[in-house]
Amino acid sequence: MSPLDVGEAITRAHHEEWARVVATLTRQFGDLDVAEEAAAEAFATAVERWPADGVPPNPGGWLTTTARRKALDRIRRDNKRGDKQKQAQMKYDDPSDSLGAVDDERLRLIFTCCHPALALEARVALTLRMLGGLTVPEIARAFLVQEATMGQRITRAKAKIKTTRIPYRVPSADDLPGRVSGVLAVLYLVFNEGYLASGPDSDPVRHDLTAEAIRLARLLRAQMPENGEVAGLLALMLLTEARRTARVSANGELVTLDEQDRGSWDAALVAEGHRLVRERLATGQTPGRYQILAAINAVHTSARDVRDTDWSQVVALYDQLFRLDPSPIVALNRAVAIAELDGPNVALTIVDGLQGALVDYHAYFVARADILRRLGRGEESRAAYDRAIALAGNTAETAYLTRRRDELG
């Protein structure tokens, strides 16, 4: 096997096995910290040994066994130092456990990392570390915080899990819906940070984060195939990700949906997203927020040309979403669709009514600027673009808005 192939095998194993190894060891040793460190050591050992010894036939098994040995080594070391707390962990160890039911283990790990007793930012960080296998510096970079700060955030979260005894299990059936929506909120936040990366120096789209969010949503979906919102969020992410390359031009400018080259959308992702939306529609169950958002994206991605978009369907879906979540942001998105269906005049009346609630929201001024531009009210449109540019954090979006403003003449 060439060094390149071994490198690929290690990367693949990291993607496929990291969360399993952490999850299995967490159950065996009852300690996230021990599990995380041992998993990291096992992968470091693989990087050392696989190029010489070859890739083992069962990489997951090899990594789990190696990690378990590392964990036991650490506990023995700690015991020699007389650390009482670590000694207690020995009783969790059960080497007879094989790789059985590991998928279930990863599900437990997700629910522990996304526990509502942890701050949202801690849940995000912990999920990316324990399930995504991202390193602390990678997570710190993704969220534009100092490495030490991110390290501390993760350490504190792990300590809280241990001290307060946050359980390592899938919640009971009556708690499940609430807890699942907490997990989905974390995944959606990771995805959006990837999709709408903020910060003047960051890439407009952080593919590592969008890919990670999709991977974790797929994992959740495989474990909970009946859950409509899990399917909905996965579909929403797939249909958004499908447009990723079309969304930023060669010179780093945002390309809006109506101007995108629809031929460059990822047809496989679109097809998968549509399949999930159809599957949910077929159940006849009342859709939740993510399922409705996925359906809206399905309408957009079904149109071969922007002129073929079924705007009445989009507006109807936004009406449905608004009944579920009557927030000004949903009202704004609905108004954008109304502009297409009933014209910019009708939309402007709605948008005017939202100004008070969305005075610091860049997308409000983007929508307003566009509506005013279409009504030929150049000066007011320019003022709205100015405000939108001042509030936008994404580099590609700033470039797009600046061009649009300057084209007003």
């Binding site: 007793a117 001290t163 307060t164 005894r165 359980p167 919640p171 708690d175």
Partner: protein, 107 residues
């Protein structure tokens, strides 16, 4: 595992009759389900005395050691297998006493 459930108070008035009834019901349930360890209400911060017994002679000072907008007005000590159970009980306690509560583990 033991958890301390502290009752957070922000206006100086004691529990109403309805709240007392609800708290009693909640306490009975804790006892019946084996989660009960101890509970009690405590006096307002103005009833506090701060003691420093580190020196040769103990020093007594009137008033709380720190003035805050919120203070502890009562607490439960509960036995629960993990935080999920403790949080559920704390939520029921919060409803019963009609106040916010805070949960912390005993070390």
């Amino acid at each position: 595992m033991l958890y301390l459930v502290s009752v957070i108070e922000d206006t100086p008035n004691s529990a109403t009759a309805d709240e007392m009834t609800a708290i009693d019901d909640f306490n009975s349930r804790l006892q019946a389900d084996g989660n009960w360890v101890f509970a009690g209400g405590i006096g307002e911060p103005s009833t506090a005395t701060v003691i420093d017994g580190r020196g040769a002679e103990a020093m007594f000072t009137d008033g709380p050691f720190v003035e805050t907008k919120e203070w502890l007005s009562g607490f439960w000590i509960i036995e629960a297998p993990d935080l999920d159970v403790a949080l559920k009980l704390a939520a029921a306690g919060s409803k019963a006493c009609n106040r916010r509560v805070e949960v912390r583990p005993f070390l």
